[in-house]
């Protein structure tokens, strides 16, 4: 029963994803030119004069979406804190009683 429900859910999700892919096509029916290109043209055209950066990906990562990168760095920091907390040296209770 669980497998049947899982298969139905998978099919529904797959249908939504396939519909989304079809929606992304351009006016000529191909995948090469999407419908909404305003943000693409803004990033490609303005990252050089505004940020003085040649690499548009880095301009998006560290300037336009800098808050995302801040969260990413904080996630890395908390991951290391978790590893250090789990793997720390603690004394067993018997040794403490002695």
């Amino acid at each position: 029963m669980k497998k049947v429900i899982a298969m139905i859910a998978l099919l529904i999700i797959f249908a939504f994803l396939a519909g989304a892919i079809v929606e992304m096509r351009g006016e000529d029916g191909g995948f090469g030119n999407p419908v909404n290109t305003d943000m693409d043209e803004y990033f490609l055209g303005d990252s050089q004069p505004h940020n003085q950066v040649n690499n548009v990906v880095t301009a998006v990562l560290f300037d336009y979406r800098g808050l995302d990168t801040l969260g990413e760095a904080t996630i890395l920091f908390s991951a290391v804190s978790g590893v250090l907390t789990v793997l720390r040296k603690i004394k067993a209770p018997k040794e403490v009683e002695k």
């Binding site: 050089q48 004069p49 505004h50 940020n51 003085q52 950066v53 040649n54 690499n55 990906v57 880095t58 301009a59 990562l61 560290f62 300037d63 800098g66 808050l67 990168t69 801040l70 990413e72 760095a73 904080t74 890395l76 920091f77 991951a79 290391v80 590893v83 250090l84 793997l87």
Partner: protein
Amino acid sequence: MKWKMSVIVRTVSDVMVVPIIVFGIYLILHGHLTPGGGFQGGAVVASATALLIVSNGALKDYKGDFSTMESAGLTFFFLLAFLGIVMGFAMFYNSLAGTGGIFGGTVMSGINPGYINTGGTVPLMNIVVGMEVIAALSLILWMMAKNSGMMEVEK
């Protein structure tokens, strides 16, 4: 319990660690010109730590250094994020771009040779994020290798 690989592997890894670290630092410093950046370059440099731990089975006690480096990287990233507010703009505003000074050069529009002295706060953020990623991944590797008995700490 000493666990280490053969002398061939140890020698080759000792030699190869230098170009790996140099390549990682190149990726970090040229993050605003070529594909790469702080995260990718930091992962490359941390792979040198992994190579040393796996081949030698021993590493010096760098835990405190890595911890300090990681905290310093995240703190400097926060400070660079708030620099935009201090200079009178929004958070994460690239307030050093095109003002002269370090990383303050201007970029010609279109195809250009790509000078490293450009980008404003972007290369600085790349450097501090690279610092944090190097220290964080190396610290995770160091702790896991030490506490699983795979590595022993050199004095």
